[in-house]
Symmetry: C2
């Protein structure tokens, strides 16, 4: 597509993006397409997420971490399906504030994450927008044929697990906005998590082999688990009292007057990029061993029921959660 | 990703996009990913283009044709590589003006084109932006393994051909902006072309089997042919005097005082979505037969030389074309 500043976009591709190209399939970004050979025995897993300045990232977030967040939220989707990522296509809609230093920072963030996650750029588009910057990314990964985990496999009697900690996304946004009063180290941890969440690719293999259903926690533990329940045609009981909290979240939690409301906030806040999944009880022990081997926190937060929808409790008491937030039960 | 108006986006997916989903690989858009089985013997061809309101489409363009344009400019990239499209992922960054009627029109445009081109929605994301609307699309197609045409295969002695007519994109933008004085039928033709260009999928097979290099004409015939020359390490002589013009473009051309300047405008204007390609002279006859069989105009517009870069002539005289436009030679 022709753009207003063709030279700038050509140069962006030439100088900043070409070094990121997949050595073979990206065609050096000199073509309009990427060409991928077939990989018999494997399925290709694709996902595409978009982020917008002022909606999914803050106007003063460094472009380096914006790039990382964009890539990582997509890798998180692949991890939750048990897929191993290998590449991505990228669309940059640069705003006026995206000059060369910002574009260089964006590319540097991608370069660092490409090394970390062993993925390469396959192609895409770079255009200007008169509005706020926005970006979208299509991430690609492989799974052995037929083994991609879906949202739809949960069975009554399965247990519900979540990796890592929940609520750091919710608190990270508050921290990045300067709305939290915690000590500096905890603020830094939360802002880092908000800006560059870590996709749980280290647990993708385990999820693929042992989970009956899985999703990444992007919309919030409650919403994502409700999606699993709906797709699987089952109910889920979620125990908010055992929600795994980071030290920073724990510190915030201890300052709250209403623990139930606080936990509901953390469970509905989103942006955690952990994996929530269901598994047969006989797999609890192997799951715990795998988590331990990877030094990864794994928490059993509930169970699958023959019912319908998500039911959250705290201390045996029902907590009514509305779509956008929560209300006491 | 959580969005400002989660309900609206969920509903958009549920009501408008789910009916467009690939019957199998799109997982009913109920998952975060699409899962594609391997197709041994075929390569997967991927491309991703983005469009922004006020840059690539006009604020008063109907959303139905915006959706079609978005899909078609991507299908055009696949056609030029000889690929057969089957699906796409979509990111919608809706502006405030995108209420239900606009979103419905957008989905209706996609639905119509899905039937026309036999493609299905595989997944994607729908978010709100406080700025102008923008969209990006990742299109996927198949080619028999190893047969995707690249930009890099042109050889000295090859002939240069272009499908259809050139300049309707340049004039279409002017027509859509109300800047042209032609009769109503011709204005309608040009505006239609600008809003819903027709990707040359009907010639993709022929290009795949007979072309040495190819690109779609999106940035302008001159720019896209220059890309082919650069990627192939050859020169190209382009004869502007034989530029194929539509009746509407012909009518506009006849009103110009400087024919050379007028042709340079048409050849650098972009948004034509034809295929420009190179082929060995022995394939000229088969190419002409294939074009005739498809009632498609095919014009020999130049030849490949051992030189470097693109050299445009008019009546034997050299025409100097600058990057953004042109100057007399």
């Amino acid at each position: 597509m022709p753009a207003l500043d063709v030279a700038g976009e050509f140069e962006t591709i030439e100088r900043l993006l070409r070094p990121l190209a997949h050595p073979e399939w990206g065609r050096g970004l000199q073509d309009d397409v990427a060409v991928l050979p077939s990989r018999p025995g494997y399925d290709l897993v694709l996902t595409k997420d978009a982020i917008v300045e002022g909606v999914h990232f803050l106007p003063d977030d460094p472009l380096e971490t914006v790039a990382k967040k964009l890539l990582r939220v997509n890798l998180s989707d692949l991890a939750a399906k048990g897929a191993e990522p290998f590449g991505y296509l990228l669309a940059c809609h640069w705003s006026d504030r995206c000059g060369w230093p910002e574009r260089e920072a964006f590319a540097a963030g991608l370069a660092e994450d490409q090394r970390l996650f062993n993925v390469f750029l396959l192609g895409g588009d770079t255009v200007k927008t008169p509005g706020p910057a926005s970006f979208s990314l299509t991430a690609l990964g492989w799974v052995p044929a037929g083994s991609a985990v879906s949202r739809a496999g949960a069975q009554p009697g399965d247990l519900v697990f979540v990796t890592g900690t929940i609520g750091d996304g919710f608190l990270g946004l508050k921290a990045a906005r300067g709305e939290l009063s915690l000590d500096a180290e905890r603020i830094d941890f939360l802002v880092d998590h908000y800006r560059s969440p870590m996709p749980r690719l280290d647990f993708a293999d385990t999820v693929r082999t042992l989970a009956t259903a899985a999703a990444d926690v992007s919309d919030g533990l409650v919403a994502d688990l409700a999606h699993v329940a709906k797709a699987s045609g089952v109910g889920v009981d979620l125990n908010l009292a055992v929600l795994p909290l980071s030290l920073a979240a724990q510190a915030w939690f201890e300052g709250r007057v209403d623990p139930q409301a606080a936990l509901a906030d953390l469970a509905t806040g989103g942006d955690d990029y952990q994996i929530v999944f269901t598994a047969h009880p006989r797999h609890e022990e192997p799951l715990r061993r795998e988590a331990e081997r990877r030094l990864l926190r794994l928490t059993r937060v509930g169970e699958v029921t023959p019912g319908f929808g998500l039911r959250a409790t705290y201390g045996g008491e029902l907590v009514a959660l509305s779509k956008g937030g929560w209300t006491h039960g």
